[in-house]
Symmetry: C2
Subunit: 249 residues, 2 copies
DNA sequence: AAACTGTATACTGTAGGCAGTCGACAACAG
DNA sequence: CTGTTGTCGACTGCCTACAGTATACAGTTT
């Protein structure tokens, strides 16, 4: 049992393990949804997606069901999949849940994190701030998500982190189009949050996170209130049956 | 547009709308898991389940993926599905998350509920207490779940209710085998909770719910600590490949 | 005898195909 | 002209079949 010195050659090239098709398809469709290629309420025909992505219907079906499980699409038996169309009320509720989960995460992170964790937080924070000053919105937004994800990870509660992650993704989808600004203040708050975590001040960490998430919540509601015009289809139901083509927008 | 007096004949016989197979299969497998016919770590071969349930592999696959989405089974690409084997740590984390969600639900319920809601709460509570006194454990446990579900519904936050529902089901699975007692105290606390909700006392409602869930959490940990013996397979990985048959236990 | 290699087996992942069902449009009756 | 019924088209849900892959066992070599 010499274990063949090949085993500890260290550098694992990580052969491009072709993950299952359904996961690739899942990611692909999710991307189409978040970047707006597929608009809310739109009917997703399995055949079209299959052809578009160059696979058979089966992986598409499975991907759609995964998406349904996370609330990205609605699956009506016998009718197929429709991109989920969030109501203002639902978005608000989701933001409330996110506030709850992230507040608890921050509290636990303040209790459990160590120096290494704080260092990682500071690194991400610095990166986000740099991107903000370079007007690199996408990188800044990404860093924002990463920071929040890191806080939940440092909470030490994997279940909580998993839930918060899912909720966060959806929040970002609802939120991204309306709140491009609110950058500077946000990163100020992040900095204070990290300070509180470093100081092991659970009360303050929770408080800052709650205020932080409530800020984004109210900014979202303001934005929505200021443009009450529905972007598409003022008609009651958005149920046009074949929206011409998928590559719209 | 007389709408044919057939429309309002009221009594909708609710034709046994044949729900999709995948949902039936989902329910069936879930039942097999919670009642212990399928033990944690066990490998679930699609073909066997398909044969056992008298359907093809396709609905089974889809059901397994739904189960995976809710954390009941683990899906390892290329290897198939395995009944999720919760660690003590994970169960504890899940209980913590449940405590968080339900506490918030109780707080919101105290803010939003009306007389009708309170009446429904009292009805369920009475039913549970009656079942308890009749030593009807199953009914009592069901009423308990129903009560908690009702509280989350009365919170007015559908997203929160949905999340709490999922978490609750898994908690019940982990929790049921170890905590059969703790009936009387539990319903006492329920009663107080309803009083607080009726009085619109959000602080107290949240407090009671937190204590309530923490009680079950600590009782769970005690129970687990008192029987540290792992029921099956003291070996590292529970990966026996074909456990003979599905109909075990 | 121990370790490696080749082969067999079983299962998953994916594709293609068929029947059932739903919605829409057109023809028809009142 | 309005309301009803029949027919067409399209899509979903499910089944069957095939290819790829991981595991276990046996044979072979050192």
């Amino acid at each position: 049992m010499v274990r063949s010195e090949l085993a500890n050659s260290g550098a694992a090239p990580k052969i491009p393990r072709p993950t299952t098709l359904r996961e690739s398809v899942f990611e692909a469709i999710l991307e189409l949804i978040v970047n707006g290629s597929l608009s809310p309420g739109q009917h997703l025909a399995e055949s079209e997606l299959a052809e578009l992505l160059g696979v058979s219907r089966q992986p598409v079906r499975e991907a759609l069901q995964m998406l349904s499980g996370e609330g990205w699409v609605d699956l009506r038996p016998g009718h197929g999949a429709f991109v989920h169309a969030p109501t203002v009320q639902e978005a608000d509720q989701l933001l409330a849940v996110r506030a709850l989960l992230e507040t608890e995460s921050a509290r636990l992170a303040a209790l459990n994190s160590d120096a290494a964790g704080v260092a990682r937080l500071r690194e991400v924070c610095a990166r986000g701030l740099r991107a903000l000053e370079a007007d690199d919105i996408d990188t800044s937004v990404a860093a924002n998500s990463e920071l929040h994800a890191l806080v939940t990870e440092l909470s030490g509660n994997a279940v909580l982190a998993e839930l918060a992650s899912q909720v966060s993704r959806r929040v970002r989808w609802y939120h991204t189009p309306v709140a491009r600004q609110r950058g500077r203040d946000s990163w100020e708050e992040h900095d204070q949050l990290i300070n509180a975590i470093e100081a092991r001040d659970e009360i303050r960490a929770a408080e800052i996170m709650r205020d932080h998430t409530e800020h984004t919540r109210s900014s979202y509601l303001e934005q929505r209130a200021s443009e009450p015009v529905e972007p598409e289809e003022p008609a009651p139901a958005a149920r046009r049956r074949r929206p011409r083509s998928l590559s719209a927008s």
